[in-house]
């Protein structure tokens, strides 16, 4: 079957872009960045209100802004970008045309309309229900309708992605198995289907309830199913950004996976177990049995934790092996010192990887432990954790990928390369700081989603310790610096599209060039030291494990001093 389309081979990267897929990727990535801009502006309101000395917005405005910030960042920015990544991993990496481009545009339109409808509902002011929108607190019907339209669009986009894989297979555009990065994207898309289905199951009745058609949605059932959507959507991010890490390791170093089997099995564990992690949001809830909580969050979730710990080793490990083959073999860390730290695509990914593991990963496992959850549930520790996973992990990774895509996909020379070089450091490290102080404040008990820690007007106010006020001031400070870092990203990205020098598009042909297998492995590995191919990475992994074990047991120690509960 031949379809009238053209394929462009990028002269800078050698990647081949199919015309329709390329336009779709650009559109989705662009809208994603617009949502990031909106969410970033809203973040100013959030941090300047939670900074006790500033306490900027009125309560009503604050809750509205916080609702919009959560939805625009966690859902709209990330999922639009992920759709672009999915199309890239299917169409570009497999060098095939995108399946049903008309449906892909329909998906794009539904997502765009849905996101705008939802935001209008939020900014009308009567839908300040936070991203979680727990019933029986109700938003305007359009709040739910917007989310439902968006979800349907995203679901269609996932099926376009699956269809593209079928096209590639049928038209034999590649040899053997799909590349690891595409494999990772497949796991992300499978998790996305589960996620979106859960969202539909719970948001449709809630929408009908807001219209008065359905009388009641059980609050506990809502929480259980909503989290199968709310948490799993973050697992799409994990699978997607880890795929991007492998992609960047391949691009920046020519690194090959240490073992296809280990990396792919780890992705497979995500499909099987990650969604169950959503149960940890219900650890402090009544009505669910201990067995259910333990089985889901421990027995099953630890398989997903195991998977993340594997990726955390194999990605830097692959970089190390590649660097050692280039001759950077001195000591444990010469490979890392001589890495391209001036390239924002690499530095962004590396800062994301370390932050995701140390800050997001360790805190996430602590929170997901049934008993330990009681000392952080609904405190500001929780946003501290997920800013480490979603902002440091996913957002920073996507930012890093954008720097690569500006010349390759958008065919523009990047403006202000010096700014771009510093941006991952500024944004990444200020987010590290922001997350740490937020977790510090949460450890002292400060609530999340709370307008005033001084409890203005309360009959029985509680006085937080001075340290909690200090931490929240630092949250404000770190947040502002991070927002500045985000602004630089928007400036460089949008500026490059507007004013960047146009780059040549490369040879255009009416036919795809099939993609062959990777070059065969060098048979004899030149081992680093003590018989390990990647000793430096292993040493880093040991530091990680040590921090993990210490932090985990410190929390148990604190828990043991509390009131007896049974």
């Amino acid at each position: 079957m031949t379809v009238a389309t053209t394929y462009r081979t990028c002269p800078r990267s050698g990647l081949q872009f199919e015309h329709q897929a390329e336009t779709l990727m650009k559109a989705n990535a662009f809208v994603a960045v617009v949502w990031l801009l909106v969410g970033g502006l809203l973040a100013i309101g959030v941090v300047l209100t939670r900074w006790p000395a500033v306490h900027w917005l009125e309560a009503e405005t604050f809750y509205m802004v916080l609702t919009a910030h959560g939805i625009d960042m966690l859902i709209f920015w990330i999922i639009f970008f992920e759709i672009a990544v999915l199309y890239f991993c299917a169409s570009t990496l497999l060098r095939c045309r995108i399946a049903t481009p008309k449906f892909a545009w329909l998906a794009f339109a539904l997502m765009l309309i849905g996101s705008v409808v939802n935001n209008i509902a939020v900014f009308r002011g009567a839908s300040s229900v936070m991203m979680t929108s727990y019933v029986p607190m109700m938003a305007e019907p359009n709040f739910y309708l917007g989310l439902i339209l968006f979800a349907v669009g995203a679901l269609i986009a996932c099926f376009v992605f699956f269809g593209t894989l079928v096209v590639a297979k049928r038209e034999k555009t590649y040899e053997g198995s799909v590349p690891l990065v595409t494999f990772g994207a497949i796991t992300a898309a499978i998790i996305a289907v589960f996620t979106i289905a859960s969202g539909a199951i719970i948001l449709i009745p809630t929408w009908l309830m807001s219209l008065g058609v359905v009388k009641e949605v059980n609050p506990l059932v809502y929480r259980t199913i909503w989290w199968a959507f709310g948490h799993s959507s973050q697992q799409i991010n994990v699978a997607a950004h880890i795929s991007v890490w492998y992609l960047v390791a391949a691009i920046a170093f020519g690194a090959k996976p240490m073992s296809e089997r280990v990396s792919r099995t780890a992705f497979l564990l995500y499909i099987l177990f990650l969604q169950l992690a959503s149960a940890h949001h219900l650890l402090a809830d009544p009505g669910l049995s201990t067995g259910w909580k333990v089985v889901n969050t421990s027995y099953f979730m630890y398989f997903a934790v195991l998977a993340s710990m594997l990726h955390g080793l194999t990605i830097p490990g692959a970089m190390e092996v590649a660097q050692r083959q280039k001759g950077f073999t001195k000591g444990l860390f010469e490979w890392l010192r001589k890495a391209p730290w001036g390239n924002p695509t690499f530095s962004g990914v590396f800062i994301a990887l370390i932050g995701f593991g140390f800050l997001g990963g360790i805190s996430g496992v602590m929170m997901g432990t049934e008993q330990l959850n009681m000392i952080i549930h609904n405190t500001i520790y929780v946003p501290g954790h997920f800013h480490a996973t979603v902002v440091v992990g996913t957002t920073l990774t996507f930012m890093a990928l954008t720097y690569y895509l500006i010349p390759v996909l958008f065919r523009r020379e990047m403006i202000a390369p010096a700014l771009a070089r510093w941006q991952p450091y500024l944004f990444g490290f200020s987010m590290y700081f922001f997350c740490l102080v937020m977790m510090g404040a949460g450890t002292l008990g400060v609530s999340r989603r709370h307008w005033d820690m001084a409890f203005q007007g309360a009959a029985l106010a509680y006085e937080w310790p001075g340290a909690a006020y200090l931490m929240m001031a630092l949250v404000g400070l770190g947040g502002i610096v991070a927002i500045a870092g985000g602004a630089i990203y928007i400036y460089v990205t949008v500026g490059s599209l507007l004013w960047g020098k146009k780059l040549e598009s490369g040879a255009i042909s009416a036919k795809f060039t099939p993609v062959g297998r990777a070059a065969p492995t060098v048979a004899a590995q030149s081992y680093g030291s003590i018989g390990f191919a990647a000793p430096g990475t292993f040493a880093l992994a040991m530091v990680f494990l040590l921090s993990f074990v210490l932090y985990y047991f410190i929390n148990w120690k604190y828990l043991s001093t509390l009131w007896g509960l049974s």
Binding site: A59, L93, Y134, P136, S177, V178, L180, V181, N218, P219, L220, R223, A250, I251, S259, R261, A284, P286, G287, S289, T290, S298, Y299, Y302, M309, L310, G317, A318, V365, T369, Q371, M374, I375, N378, T379, G445, S447, H450, F455, Q456, A458, A459, L460, A461, Y462, R517, A518, P520, G531, F532, A534, T537, L545, V549, W556, S560, L562, W563, G564, S566
Partner: protein, 179 residues
């Protein structure tokens, strides 16, 4: 560039695993098993486990039970709203209801004595955040959660609502005295 290319070997899954990876898999799996054992073990040997005793309830049913306790054991009232301070006997059932935007009533408990604390919400989701101890429990409307508590320190404890419940959320603070 092989993570973005199809694997070199057709039978890539037969490629031997490197020693770094093999060692790390064993270590990581062991650590996961230790964490699993911790969670289960704490149920057997630990003293801080969240109860799962839950009943369906309705606002009027729960209010009636709380009112009965208040009528019997009120020792004084506090604040402008004359919130009763209730000192029920150790070992008894004590009630605290969460509503827009207060916790009711104020409880007065004795140190190292055990009580069955009943929690529910009259309207939206609320949060029971006991400060400065920092114990946090979700309160879901329609469900009565019974938690056996044994305060181990005396002093004044605040109950901060930490689940967003509307415009007056920041005013919603309750109190528990421990003597």
């Amino acid at each position: 560039m092989s993570a973005i290319l199809p694997p070199a070997e057709r039978l890539w899954y037969k490629h031997p695993i490197d020693r770094v990876e093999g060692t790390w898999i064993v270590i990581a799996l062991t650590w996961c098993l230790i964490m699993f054992a911790m969670m289960v073990g704490w149920h057997i040997w630990g003293n801080q486990n969240l109860s799962t005793e839950t009943y369906r309830t309705k606002p009027e049913l729960f209010t009636a039970k709380a009112q009965a306790m208040v009528d019997k054991h009120t020792v004084r009232t506090e604040t402008d709203e004359k919130t009763p301070v209730v000192a029920p006997p150790p070992g008894s059932d004590v009630y605290m209801l969460a509503r827009l935007w207060s916790f009711w009533p104020i409880l007065e408990l004795e140190k190292d004595k055990t009580y069955r604390l009943h929690l529910t919400s009259m309207d939206y989701n609320h949060g029971f955040s006991l400060q400065p101890a920092n114990i946090n429990i979700q309160i879901v409307p329609g469900f009565e959660h019974v938690i056996t508590v044994t305060p181990n320190q005396s002093g004044t404890f605040s109950v901060v609502c930490n689940e967003f419940c509307g415009i007056g959320h920041h005013r919603m603070v309750g109190r528990i005295y421990v003597k």
